[in-house]
């Protein structure tokens, strides 16, 4: 609910946006909020670029024949869609944008522990993105985002090293963000902000940071070895000269499985914030939700072999990985149950962020449960490398993570910009996204069980019906993402002034102005209550 004052077109109270002007004040900033904005812009660009590739893929898949583009081009489309979406959108998204902006504020700090390293992480991200983009522009990569050897190390004729460099460099951006968060959360909490009072968004980012710091170096060295092998024909992964291609898969998935938890955990953190605010009630089972984030981070490192059940891995290793993959589902389930229980006897608002939260609960449930199909050994043998897997991970990544990101952006937009977005259009877009998403990806479960393999440019005719549905859905989904982009831009100039706390939410970030001042708080807050203490009388808004 916005508190619209007498329609001033500009916000004149001093805040981080009007503190300084000029490109230098942005490109050399040390303010975590400005860096977050820089990241928002960058990942939005990469999202739409990845989305264009997705659109091209779905366009080609309207017909069973490969008639839109040739095979090599199609192979480049899905590779670049994957690389851009995974490494340049999903991995940085919430931590580098909403996390950067709000983790310091939520703990009552003036900034992250290392502001200059924060800025450096953005520059490193940009350099990585430039490598990836130059790979695209020079002609593309066609190895799949998974870079399996020996195809990527010996056979592919595309710009593998350039793309791998991009990912390698972007990895360091991720590591630095994680490092910054860990130190900040440990050392810079305001007085009274104990671990047990941290907002769950902070817990989620903390767990994510642990994974970023421990896992990313492994993929860095793996891709470095692929690059070296490609350049020098060493034989690390090429069996013709003594190497082991399955070693690559082990090393790659050792990072890339935890990476999917890097992608989803921050989204789960956003969910906790949304569900509590729009149920106006503290989360059910705070300790369990917090612990489940850490649990997912730890167990997530132990399950990578479930990507490799049909590679000829030892039967006993397969057993172990299958069992642990079921175990890692438990903490995720706990979260879903706890959020649902939070709504019980709450005061539910249908504001747009909450609509995205509803969508997340539903779609992540389906996505997570279909993960169990993949953890089940005998079923995985049939559905791995088919569209079933594609549907599964899009349900959790897009139906889960991107919905959480959209929900978070809508929730915190007024705080970041001081402006409200138009609620009617926002609700409409949320609906489009939900409908479009399900239309796009549900048919892919069926097509996958039927046997449609992944990464196929042309496919057997009996799969066509599902592909047509899927492409139709993708169009709706695309529109559902474009409309928010438009109205967010519009709101910057014409949106109503939001006021300090339009949602009447709990949390230190809402205790300060919208947009916040450069140093976040006039005085360091002292925390005396639990997180989400909605039942206590709402604090007076601080002036100015």
């Amino acid at each position: 609910m916005s508190t619209v004052l007498q329609d001033p077109r500009t916000i004149e109270t001093p805040n981080y946006l009007n503190a300084e002007y000029g490109w230098k004040s942005w490109l050399f900033t040390k303010d975590h909020k400005r860096i977050a904005v820089l990241y928002i812009i960058s990942i939005t660009v990469m999202f739409f670029l990845g989305g264009i590739f997705a659109g091209l893929i779905r366009l080609e898949l309207l017909t069973p024949q490969g008639d839109l583009v040739n095979s090599d081009t199609y192979n480049k489309f899905f590779t670049m869609h994957g690389i851009i979406m995974v490494f340049f959108f999903l991995i940085p998204s919430i931590p580098a944008t909403l996390g950067n902006f709000f983790v310091p504020m939520m703990i009552g700090a003036k900034d992250l522990a290392f502001p200059r390293i924060n800025l450096l992480s953005w520059y490193i991200y940009i350099i990585g993105a430039l490598f990836a983009l130059s790979a695209v522009v020079m002609g593309g990569v066609d190895t799949g985002w998974t870079f399996y050897t020996p195809f990527s190390s010996t056979f592919s004729n595309t710009f593998v090293i350039t793309a791998a460099c991009g990912v390698f460099v972007a990895g360091f951006s991720s590591i630095l963000t994680g490092l910054n968060f860990i130190v900040t959360i440990h050392k810079m909490r305001a007085p009274g902000m104990t671990w047990g009072r941290l907002p769950l968004f902070v817990w989620a980012n903390y767990a994510t940071s642990l994974i970023q710091v421990l896992g990313t170096p492994v993929v860095a060295i793996t891709l470095a070895l692929v690059g070296l092998e490609r350049a020098f024909h060493i034989g690390i992964f090429d069996p013709a000269i003594g190497g082991d291609p399955i070693l690559f898969q082990h090393m790659f998935w050792f990072y890339s499985h935890p990476a999917v938890y890097i992608m989803i955990l921050p989204g789960m953190g956003v969910m906790s914030e949304l569900v509590t605010c729009f149920s106006r009630k503290g989360v059910f089972g705070y300790a369990f939700v917090a612990a489940s984030s850490i649990g997912i981070a730890v167990i997530g490192f132990l399950v990578w072999g479930h990507h490799m059940f049909v590679t000829g891995m030892s039967m006993y290793a397969s057993l172990y990985f299958s069992l642990l993959s079921f175990l890692v589902a438990v903490p995720s389930a706990i979260k879903i149950f706890n959020w649902t229980a939070t709504m019980f006897r709450g005061s539910i608002s249908y504001a747009t962020p909450m609509l995205y939260a509803f969508g997340f609960i539903g779609l992540f449930t389906i996505g997570g449960l279909t993960g169990l199909f993949l953890a089940t050994l005998a079923v995985d043998v049939h559905v791995t490398d088919t569209y079933f897997v594609v549907a599964h991970f899009h349900y959790v990544m897009v139906g889960g993570m991107v919905m959480a990101y959209m929900g978070g952006m809508h929730f915190w937009w007024p705080k970041i910009t001081g402006r409200m977005y138009p609620e009617g259009w926002a609700k409409f877009s949320a609906l489009l996204v939900f409908v479009g998403f399900n239309c796009t990806f549900f048919p892919q479960f069926i097509a996958g069980y039927l046997g449609q393999p992944r990464r196929y440019h042309a496919y057997a005719p009996e799969f066509q019906v599902y592909n047509v549905f899927s492409t139709a859905g993708a169009t709706i989904l695309g529109v559902g993402y474009i409309i928010p982009f438009i109205y967010f831009m519009w709101s910057l100039k014409y949106g109503p002034i939001a006021g300090n706390n339009p949602w009447k939410a709990k949390g230190l970030e809402w205790e300060t102005t919208s947009p916040p001042p450069t140093y976040n708080f006039e005085t360091t807050p002292i925390v005396t209550e639990e997180a989400y203490a909605y039942a206590t009388p709402h604090k007076e808004e601080h002036g100015g």
Binding site: A240, R280, Y286, G312, M343, L372, T376, L450
Partner: protein, 335 residues
């Protein structure tokens, strides 16, 4: 299972499941139904809860503050343990089926499939060779030995609910027992480059009489044993590996399937992988009593298909024991 639009062209049909044509397909499907049922139930429960709560507890006034509910350890334990126990049933059933599918029965017939960018080359012991076509009899276990000439591929037959990656540098095996005559898709399921989606074919399951007929129009080049024997001579193997006496190299009669003692004291089973390695990288394992660096490597000279033919030939060498002639002097004889 096909929804009732069977008369339409394929591109307009809405099938839900592939045909079920192997002994394991139905079992996998039942497990899948079970998983789907639990998923539907869980999803419905969650959707319903969210839906009902969203309506029943919708915000009626701006100032309302609901009473806090901090949590319930009992509930947390319940909804952690119960789902995990249900998941253990998935795990157990899936693992059982997986193990059952892992080892081929002893009487399985052999077929050899070599994946190469971008085709499947199938060889039968009787000598037929096919590209992208696999013919098998109904009701008999078939063991496919998989090899790759270049990158990782994956041998996928949806109607059998089976696939296995084909990894270069080694052999993988997959077995099935087809239950229904018909023609079923064969797909490569591991991205392998430009024509990955063109690396498709057909598995034709035939009744026994039809299969015998088909076999009778055998391979023009002779059986795999004969082809292997030809290679054995062509590459000079017979010079050192004489058939009935020791030469510079170990005699190969009766070797396949036996346990061999190596010069470092270890014993190893002489299976397909051992023979392949001995041809491509002979110094990796030396039989006790023999010297290293005598046999040249044939890496890059013999194709994967050729290697399979040689292996089938060596396998065929009958076990006729003559005293003391099988293994190197002074070492344990094979078993």
């Amino acid at each position: 299972m096909v929804l009732p639009w069977g008369g339409l062209p394929k591109t307009m049909q809405i099938p839900l499941f592939p045909e079920s044509a192997s002994t394991t397909a139905d079992s996998v499907d039942y497990l899948y139904y079970y998983l789907t049922a639990v998923t539907v139930v869980m999803t419905t429960l969650i959707f319903a809860a969210v839906f009902i709560f969203a309506i029943k507890y919708r915000r009626r006034s701006e100032d309302e503050i609901p009473a806090p509910i901090h949590g319930s350890i009992r509930l947390e334990i319940a909804w952690s343990v119960i789902p995990f126990l249900i998941m253990l049933t998935f795990f157990w059933w899936g693992a059982q089926l997986f193990f059952a599918n892992a080892s081929p029965p002893a009487d399985a017939m052999d077929v050899y499939a070599v994946g190469k960018q971008w085709m499947w080359k199938i060889q039968y012991p009787e000598g037929q060779r096919e590209i992208n076509e696999l013919h098998v009899p109904v009701g008999r276990p078939v063991k496919v030995t998989l090899a790759s000439e270049d990158v990782i591929h994956s041998f996928f037959i949806p109607a059998f609910r089976l696939k296995h990656d084909v990894v270069p540098g080694r052999y993988d095996t997959m077995w099935f027992n087809a239950t229904k005559p018909g023609r079923y898709h064969l797909f490569c399921a591991e991205y392998c480059g430009t024509e990955h989606s063109g690396m498709v074919g057909w598995v034709t399951v035939m009744t026994e009489p039809d299969y015998e007929n088909w076999l009778a129009n055998g391979g023009a080049e002779g059986t795999m044993v004969q082809q292997g024997e030809r290679l054995f001579g062509q590459y000079g193997c017979v010079t050192c590996h004489q058939l009935d006496q020791q030469g510079r190299g170990p005699m190969l009669r009766g070797v396949y399937g036996s346990r061999i003692q190596l010069n470092d004291g270890k014993t190893i089973l002489a299976d397909d992988a051992f023979i392949r390695e001995s041809i491509l990288n002979p110094n990796a394992k030396i039989v006790a009593g023999y010297k290293s660096d005598v046999m040249p490597s044939f890496q890059g000279q013999i194709s994967e298909e050729g290697l399979l033919q040689l292996i089938v030939y060596i396998k065929s060498l009958a076990i006729t024991k003559a005293p003391g002639t099988v293994a190197a002097p002074g070492t344990e004889g094979k078993q």
